[in-house]
């Protein structure tokens, strides 16, 4: 897989984005481990799955934004590694613009769904976790990622890294 496996520390390890994502991940891990333990001990942890889903949403949203901020998306470099600096800047600008448009599309889709279900007061079955904030988080993440890609388009055109 085209993973980013570099073991440098350039990834964001501070700031709210990191703490929200890391908190979501650690909470999902702890809740699931407790649920397994509880199940085998005969004390089932009701609603664990719903908490984990909410944690995963928080973690995934910040992780996608973090990957975008760190230019960590998997890319085929067959052509971009072989062209000159100027052509590479244009290719990067094109890729960033297309990426921004894609996330704008996702954001519009997320907004549409949020608007349609706004008055339904959706919530999870056991713990009644409301879906409205979760939909807002997914929308905000898509908008933020689109904005980062737009910023990168501008930077690519200006030739800065």
């Amino acid at each position: 897989m085209a993973e980013s496996i570099e073991r440098d520390n350039s990834g964001q390890t501070r700031g709210p984005l990191f703490y929200i994502g890391a908190g979501g991940l650690l909470l999902a891990m702890a809740v699931e481990a407790l649920a397994v333990l509880g199940r085998h001990a005969g004390i089932p942890l009701l609603g664990a799955l719903e908490i984990i889903q909410a944690c995963i949403l928080l973690m995934a949203s910040t992780a996608m934004l973090s990957a975008t901020l760190n230019k960590g998306h998997a890319t085929v470099t067959l052509l971009t590694a072989r062209v000159g600096t100027r052509a590479r800047s244009y290719l990067h600008a094109f890729a960033n613009l297309l990426s921004a448009l894609f996330f704008v599309g996702l954001a519009v889709g997320a907004l549409w769904l949020a608007a349609e279900s706004w008055n339904d007061f959706e919530q999870s079955e056991l713990l009644h976790i409301p879906f409205r904030p979760l939909r807002i988080v997914s929308l905000v993440a898509a908008v933020a990622i689109a904005l980062v890609f737009l910023r990168d388009t501008w930077r690519s055109l200006r030739g800065s890294p």
Binding site: E3, G11, A22, V36, T62, S138
Partner: protein, 430 residues
């Protein structure tokens, strides 16, 4: 026709350097706009976004990644290599065999080919070169051994396949055990044959005394127990894969603390690395799912299936054509892109031919792995060159050729004997 145009557009975008997930998502979204209209396309994309990032089963991915990063922080890669080196290092080619064993051991934690090649390469390569191993054998064995990370469960590639193909990740993991172990065995045989033919390429070294061997084995005991609990738990149905991943990550955290390697920096680093890789994979999965919806509307898979079924030779001819296509695409596309592009098209064909989707998942990952070590992409080779900068790329390519031959033989065996993948889940009543 629409499907074919979509595939061509996707290949063009990938070549232009548009990120893999976004290329697939854009083609899928625009394709759906043409086929269904803008409103359904946008709404469908929004649904895919929300459902993907709240999907419980996908939690398996970041949790296994966290387990891998924590085990790395605990020194797992060095311990696996050193244990194997103490046990077989004194034999001809022993350190190369130890590297393959180290890759298999670390692969059972990392789930990634690149991470396995990079981490074992950092430890194994200097050791082999210091002991007079030929550069070709040293680099070739680690580049090839690294691919074990993609097949030996928990495998990131199998998780992504399971999500895309809507197949049980637990069953895929169990199905991958025999192919993964037999692949490692094929590499060991290749090294033994090479050293028998030309003993100078992997000279024998001094035998480690038994107390040293015991100590090295004891050092990986905790890691071994963790791996056994995680994989055994999935295979015997004690946990779902997501539960196993959380148990594994919690175990890795405790293991890190037990080994006095847990501190604020190591935890912060493990979490940051996990978030970065997770973010990248989520974007890829969202794009791939939108692309898969588009593909299902185009009917391309059905057309290709009809064509395949009309060919003389039946299933075998179809598999041979698929294999050639995958190897050809694998020589120009990155492994993840290859899997995401071909799964929506080939999976319905495989199902129509009466083949098991679980077998197909293992076969696809196996084919994808070959792309990691064959030119011109062969990303593992570049990873190894990044570690051994003074070894020319051509020598690394030469070194990997015997392992490539072993890979093709192993792939043929997997095609001829699907039971290699399907027997274990069957025995365990999965």
């Amino acid at each position: 026709m629409n499907g074919l145009l979509g595939v061509i557009a996707l290949l063009v975008l990938l070549t232009l350097g548009v990120p893999i997930g976004i290329s697939m998502g854009v083609v899928g979204m625009v394709g759906l706009m043409f086929l269904l209209g803008p409103e359904p396309a946008i709404i469908k994309s929004g649904v895919v976004l929300f459902e993907t990032i709240t999907r419980y089963e996908l939690g398996v991915l970041p949790l296994f990644l966290l387990m891998a990063h924590l085990c790395f922080a605990a020194g797992a890669s060095r311990d696996f290599f050193e244990a194997a080196a103490r046990m077989v290092g004194h034999r001809r080619g022993g350190l190369a065999i130890a590297s393959v064993a180290g890759c298999a051991g670390f692969g059972a934690i990392s789930g990634s080919s690149l991470a396995t090649a990079a981490t074992i390469g950092l430890i194994g390569l200097p050791e082999m070169r210091k002991r007079g191993y030929s550069d070709a054998l040293a680099t070739g064995s680690i580049a090839a051994g690294g691919t074990l990370g993609s097949i030996i469960p928990p495998s990131g590639a199998l998780i992504v396949f399971g999500i895309l193909a809507e197949q049980s990740i637990g069953k895929l993991f169990t199905a991958a055990i025999i192919p993964g172990l037999s692949q490692a065995l094929f590499y060991v045989i290749t090294i033994a044959l090479l050293c028998r033919w030309r003993p100078s390429i992997g000279p024998a070294t001094a035998r480690a005394p038994w107390p040293e061997r015991r100590a090295a084995l004891l050092r990986i005991l905790d890691l071994g127990v963790l791996i056994l609990i995680v994989l055994g738990g999935i295979a015997f149905g004690w946990f779902t894969p997501t539960e196993a991943a959380s148990v594994g990550a919690t175990g890795a955290l405790l293991l890190c603390a037990w080994r006095r390697r847990l501190n604020r920096d190591s935890l912060r680093d493990a979490l940051a690395q996990t978030l970065r890789t997770t973010g990248m994979i989520y974007v890829v999965i969202i794009g791939a799912l939108i692309f898969a919806v588009f593909m299902s509307y185009t009917g391309l898979a059905e057309q290709v299936a009809d064509f395949m079924e009309s060919l003389p030779g039946g299933t075998l001819t179809a598999i041979v054509i698929m294999t050639l296509l995958l190897l050809l695409l694998g020589s120009v596309l990155d492994g993840l892109a290859l899997m995401l592009l071909t799964t929506p098209i080939l999976l319905p064909i495989v199902t129509d031919l009466g083949l098991s989707p679980i077998w197909f998942g293992i076969y696809l990952v196996r084919t994808m792995e070959i792309g990691f070590v064959h030119p011109p992409i062969g990303i593992n080779l570049y990873v190894i060159q990044g570690i051994a900068k003074d070894v020319p790329l051509i020598r690394i390519f030469k070194g990997v050729v015997p392992f490539l031959a072993a890979d093709l033989l192993h792939l043929s065996l997997l095609i001829a004997l699907p039971a290699m993948a399907l027997a274990l889940p069957g025995w365990l009543h999965q």
